[in-house]
Subunit: 433 residues, 2 copies
């Protein structure tokens, strides 16, 4: 591509499926992205947009004119359309809607009316429904007339004349049961439908636990609205897990690896500011003991060890608890057990590392007193780090603060303050006597 | 349950699907787990084991006698059976195999012969195959005779007389095409089969990119061996993302939230030891400047700020790059661009934070000289942190070291050493003049 072989590149891109083009776009720095996008087939634009991550999608839409966007969105499925149009500027959004036909517009407005991240906003409206009082033979004839089924269809939904969901009948059942059986007799009555306002994280947990391929979405009247398919759920599951990982490093999970420099630097500022405050809090703890530090410079050399070990021990517990909260394993019934367990591990680790570190320090510095001090501080800090590692995320979760985002910083501040305070405080006490 | 209402609990458990019982077991501390397990229905044991995470599964198997384990594994599907039997002690494994019938034993031995985490080890052998030279009508009659299809079947595989894969035909096609069409005319010839030795991470990426529900597994002769279904892939995707998050905190992603105290403490020791070494490396850097620290105790108070900011900035970049490597967006073609981008962000952030921190320190300590020193050190450390945040994980990935595991510790050591060295080094130079 760098050598300007555009014609060749275009013919290669034309042959690629949309998902691969999207992957290629996501893997390219902004400059290349623009060139690549202009080389792609216009007919594929809609599909490619749908497959891109949020940041990359918004970047590309900014490059497109409204006309092109309207052309690209033609014939797209509701969930994809809602995804593409969410977050674009209001003026462009209105222009796109105006140029759509009525049916498409209604579908999109329906989906966008539901809050982001609920079943209503990620569902697809392409359900295939049947009545309970017909035979399989009739359904088969209807399907052959229809000629095709939407992607990822594993079941047809059985509804009454009011479009209320009665259950579902899987494609397997249609193929394996006798043609003269009634749908009512072979259908699955235990379908667990999703409420339109259900949160996507809850939905993902249900899909994962029950190994669903698709699930129907209903409104409060049990009327069938649409369906959610596993391919959307896979994205949600990965995003959630990434959210924990990126969040712990103070990054937004939507952050595009190849985002331009200025927006990237700006987004990272928040986290660096928070850390600066935490660092100054820790520094002000040391500041309380400036007189002691002046007397014994060795203390300054050693004072970073205890906070560092406390931070690591606390973060191990924190990661465990954040994952436990995310997958739903931790509830009020087992928190007390968990706090007890992590406190016990903290005490045990505290004892082990107090002895090890003290020995190392005495061997290095030849000062028995400093050994006692660092042992005491290490024991205190590791014991508290374990408890803080459980309690901080649980309290945050209770007060609706995301522990993946704020937990690590809060924890490190606690272990830094306690580590420095116990080490320098004990040193001050020992020096006075 | 605590009040001893075992009969009630048993009847509730009996009515729960296996996946919910497994979730309940995973959410329980070890003591309760044992009680709960003994209350569950024996017929469900196999299904429950299959749904448990590795740590919890191995714990429960230790509670079961060999006879019970054999009984539980009866009638299980190959992939579940392979999962349950992997990692159990050799003597138990042989005893279980001996009590199986020949066909089951062969299936399990086949699956366990493939290395863990390859297509062969996670595949299921319950494929339904058809020949290309028959009509849909014939297939429909065959399916009705069969009476049912395995779970998550979205397509039948078309094979020749040698069991070599020719393509697939989806259930949708069987339902919507005319009964007198030949399979050869309606089948999909572009099926992308998975090689038995393909790695599960690669497979997960393919499933995610192509929105597959299931995919056939073949050997090097194109002979059909089995199939992999989306429900297993969902687990892999979540585990991979969790691996990055837990790994960055120095935890094993298999770690059970409710694991007993001693094994937990033991597992965390490795990471704390590594950190202790890192902390001592940082301390030995400060130690080089003990004379300077003795002269100006304020330096000791402020010396933790620069390493802390460097660590945070570096970790932001690291998280971005680790995710980029995990999803496959980063390759040799775009690393140079990425290093350039992160270096630029580092320089920009370095300038901003150098000015801010220096101002804060001058206001606090009223010492202009210390302000200059901390500004210089901050600029150096943040600039290098950005570059280190890209280069460390990329180098580790090149040399097959997992950056999610070792990256954070290596990075923090680098930013600590450079932060302390630049801050204390410059202070020493300034003091001499």
């Amino acid at each position: 591509l760098e050598s300007g072989m555009f014609v060749l590149a275009r013919s290669i891109l034309d042959k690629m499926p949309a998902c691969d083009v999207a992957f290629l776009l996501e893997s390219s720095p902004p400059g290349y992205r623009k060139v690549l996008w202009n080389l792609t087939d216009h007919d594929q634009h809609g599909e490619i947009l749908e497959e891109l991550n949020e940041d990359a999608k918004d970047g590309i839409i900014n490059l497109m004119g409204t006309d092109n966007l309207v052309a690209a969105t033609e014939g797209m499925e509701t969930d994809g359309l809602a995804y593409v149009l969410r977050g674009i500027p209001d003026s462009v959004y209105r222009a796109v809607l105006e140029q759509m036909d009525t049916q498409d517009r209604q579908r999109v407005e329906l989906a966008l009316a539901y809050p982001e991240d609920t079943a209503g906003s990620i569902m697809n409206t392409d359900t295939t429904t049947v009545r309970p009082d017909v035979t399989i033979e009739v359904v088969l004839r209807y399907l052959r007339l229809k000629g095709s089924l939407p992607d990822t269809t594993d079941a047809l939904y059985v509804v009454d004349t009011d479009n209320k969901l009665l259950g579902d009948v899987s494609l397997s059942t249609l193929l394996t049961e006798e043609p003269n059986s009634m749908i009512a007799d072979v259908m699955n009555h235990d379908t667990e439908p999703l409420q339109a306002l259900m949160e996507e994280n809850e939905i993902a947990k249900l899909f994962e636990r029950h190994d669903w391929i698709s699930a129907p979405v209903i409104d409060s009247d049990r009327q069938l609205l649409g369906r959610i398919t596993i391919d959307d759920i896979v994205d949600i599951i990965r995003e959630n897990a990434e959210h924990s990982m990126m969040g712990m490093a103070g990054m937004d999970d939507d952050e595009d690896t190849f985002a331009p420099i200025l927006p990237s630097a700006k987004r990272r500022t928040v986290w660096l500011s928070v850390n600066l405050m935490a660092a100054f809090i820790a520094a002000s703890v040391s500041n309380m003991f400036e007189a002691t530090l002046e007397q014994v410079a060795t203390l300054a050399v050693l004072m970073t060890i205890v906070p560092s070990m406390g931070g690591i021990a606390g973060n191990q517990t924190l990661a465990l608890v954040i994952r436990g909260i995310a997958v739903g394993h931790i509830s009020s019934s087992n928190t007390r057990w968990l706090i007890g367990k992590e406190a016990a591990i903290g005490l045990l680790n505290g004892m082990i590392w107090a002895i090890l570190v003290a020995t190392a320090v005495v061997l290095w510095k030849g000062d028995l007193q400093v050994g006692y001090i660092i042992a005491g501080a290490m024991f205190i800090n590791l014991s508290i780090a374990g408890i803080a590692g459980v309690c901080i995320p649980l309290l945050m979760h209770k007060y609706k603060i995301d522990p993946a985002l704020a937990g690590g910083m809060a924890l490190t501040t606690v272990t830094d303050v306690i580590g420095l305070f116990s080490f320098l405080g004990m040193a001050t006490l020992v020096l006075r006597h």
